[in-house]
């Protein structure tokens, strides 16, 4: 079935063209609207494992160079799909605007993204519509802010007990 050497976009019959990034990795830029569709097509083309999903905050590089037709936005969700059969990876990059940081969840296609999406929500505040358990995963439930955003300081935060009224 799968032709060796074909790019993932060709295998899945997608209209998006993929670019080859550093060290020969295939990168696919998709819009939010096409995100689920593309992921679904890739899954059917044999990319059956979602290896990784993470967010990136490009606050300091809002004008970064991207392939033609892709509008850079503040957030990016980066998804790594893996095909166990043809030993190939493909990376999806989805631009997510700051004003409305919502993307559809991949949970129904890849149940293994559950923890990863919760982590991206926790650390970046990007919401995943339709996620079955959309809660913070690493930080305490009552934490304010999303620590990996670039406008969130690294700095030291004094310890707070739940009962004690704190500065935040």
């Amino acid at each position: 079935m799968a032709a060796v050497g074909a790019s993932a976009a060709e295998l899945a019959g997608l209209s998006e063209t993929s670019s080859i990034g550093a060290s020969g990795q295939e990168v696919l830029h998709v819009t939010r609207e096409r995100y689920l569709e593309v992921a679904g097509a890739l899954r059917d083309a044999g990319f059956e494992m979602c290896a990784d999903l993470c967010g990136v905050d490009y606050l300091r590089h809002l004008d970064r160079p991207l392939p033609e037709g892709v509008t850079p936005e503040r957030f990016e969700i980066v998804v790594n799909l893996l095909s166990l059969e043809i030993h190939q990876r493909v990376r999806l990059r989805v631009q997510v605007p700051d004003s409305d940081p919502v993307v559809p969840t991949l949970f129904n296609l890849y149940p293994g993204t559950e923890n990863m999406e919760r982590e991206a929500f926790d650390l970046y505040g990007v919401c995943f519509e339709g996620h079955p358990d959309h809660t913070r995963i690493l930080m305490p439930d009552d934490w304010e802010g999303h620590p990996l955003r670039k406008d969130y300081s690294v700095g030291r935060v004094p310890v707070q007990f739940k009962q004690a009224p704190g500065p935040r």
Binding site: G21, A22, S23, Q25, R43, E48, M49, C50, A51, D52, C54, V56, D57, R60, H61, R64, V78, N80, L84, H87, R89, R91, D100, P101, V102, F107, N108, L109, Y110, P111, G112, T113, E114, N115, M116, E119, F121, L123, G125, C127, F128, E129, P132, D133, H134, T135, R136, I137, L138, M139, P140, D141, D142, P147, L148, V154
Partner: protein
């Protein structure tokens, strides 16, 4: 839904399991692990599964975060009916260290110091994946000796990690002698690490551009004595555990995972291999020089706790084979790339030349700049696929450093693994997943 509404849902308390009769069928089915089936067509047909609904004869108990057998600060909420586990949910974050944020504040030279503290049972793998990512962005080649040293050290680290897993697993299953044996054998490898890297753990030995120091004099003898002792010890463990009826009863047929489910849950490493999928990155997508060594990928058949144990046990033997080949094939040459930009000058030249001193000083204070780009590298750590997603923006610090931690992802398979089992088996199942909390929470 808008993001505001989605956020409002996430207020405090939603991480808890709700009462059974308050949970709606879809949520209940999700929590019981039923959508985690191989995704063919629509995920979930509520008619197909009998959701015992409205029964509230169940009890919710918490295990952890401070619990002797959860391998660190893992908290698991379990809903029990009698002694049977119905739903369960791992709650993590008790060791969240903000390492990804700290990693953005450290230069590439310092970065390995940070990542090595994530998975503290296999620190060298973490350093390796970070260094590979940085090198991919820098487009530098490292000399063959450095590659083989890296392979030698990470394989020894795999042995020590699996041996430690045997020890803690033994402890969880009340085989205390296994724990004493495991720690004894691990010390042997750690003393070699200490001799080579200066530290027993958290080495910062593998750095972008090569390794920090050459192997010490007489390393062949040390390594050979390790790999001559370990297989004998592994046979001992084998004899002590594999044939032992109590151990077998506690592990066989417990916590079964099917290959489809494991793939759907993105599980990697021994969990995936125990279920029968021969997926090992060292073989499937070779990095370093794994294409040049001869070893077997161990797979299981049933996917239960026993298979995961057997996979790890045999992986120790395979790693010994690889280490032996590393010793035989170790090339001569430099242990780091002689790239002025990335690596410091040789120590001897610092005494002679002012430029070398300045160069040395600059590397360790300012670091080096990495051209803009993004890259994802992955290696096979003892727990599964360990990945590093690095975004560089041309400065001397990573713009984004994300580690794809195998334990973090593997932990998702706990609810389906625990479902329907006895609470007494929960300990065995958790231990067989081998979560390292430092890596789960980062």
């Amino acid at each position: 839904m808008t993001s505001e509404e989605l956020k409002a849902e996430t207020s405090e308390g939603l991480q808890e399991l709700q009462e059974r009769d308050e949970t709606d069928p879809v949520a209940l089915a999700i929590e019981e692990g039923s959508p985690f089936r191989p995704p063919e067509g629509p995920m979930l047909d509520l008619g197909d599964i009998d959701v015992e609904f409205g029964e509230d004869e169940t009890m919710i108990i918490n295990m952890g975060p401070q619990h002797p057998s959860t391998h660190g600060v893992l908290r698991i909420m379990m809903e029990l009916e009698g002694e049977t586990v119905l739903r369960s949910k791992p709650v993590i974050g008790y060791l969240h260290t903000g390492m990804e944020k700290t990693g953005e504040e450290l230069t590439y030279v310092q970065g390995a110091t940070n990542v090595t503290r994530m998975d503290y049972l296999s620190p060298l793998h973490n350093e390796l994946v970070f260094s590979l990512a940085a090198e991919a962005l820098l487009h530098i080649e490292i000399p063959p000796r450095a590659t083989w040293i890296r392979m030698l050290m990470t394989e020894l680290n795999r042995i020590s990690s699996h041996v430690l897993w045997m020890a803690t697993n033994g402890m969880d299953l009340a085989s205390t002698s296994m724990m004493i044996y495991g720690f004894r054998d691990r010390e042997m490898i750690l003393s070699f690490f200490e001799k080579t890297t200066g530290l027993r753990m958290n080495h910062d030995y593998i750095r972008p551009g090569g390794v920090a120091a050459d192997l010490p004099d007489g390393w062949e003898d040390d390594v050979m004595s390790i790999i001559e002792t370990i297989p004998g010890r592994v046979d001992e463990y084998d004899e002590m555990l594999t044939g032992q009826p109590i151990f077998k009863h506690r592990t066989e047929g417990v916590g079964i995972i099917s290959p489809e489910l494991a793939i759907a849950m993105s599980a990697t490493g021994p969990i995936l291999r125990a279920s029968g999928v021969a997926w090992d990155l060292r073989r499937a997508m070779p990095y370093l020089a794994y294409g040049d060594v001869d070893f077997d990928v161990i797979v299981g058949t049933v996917g239960d706790v026993f298979d995961r144990y057997a996979v790890r046990l045999n992986e120790i033997r395979e790693s010994c084979k690889i280490v032996r080949q590393c010793v035989e094939k170790m090339p001569l040459g430099d242990y780091r790339a002689q790239d002025k930009k990335v690596t410091p000058p040789p120590r001897a030249r610092i005494d002679e030349s002012m430029e070398a001193l300045i160069h040395h000083f600059k590397i360790f204070t300012r670091g080096f700049e990495v051209p803009p780009g993004e890259v994802y590298t992955a290696i096979e750590s003892p727990r599964g696929e360990l990945g590093c997603y690095l975004v560089a923006d041309g400065s001397n610090k990573p713009y984004r450093m994300h580690i794809r931690a195998p334990s973090f992802v593997n932990l998702q398979s706990l609810p389906p693994l625990l479902r329907g089992g006895l609470i007494a088996d929960a300990v065995a199942v958790i231990s067989s997943v081998d979560p390292v909390m430092g890596e789960v929470d980062r």
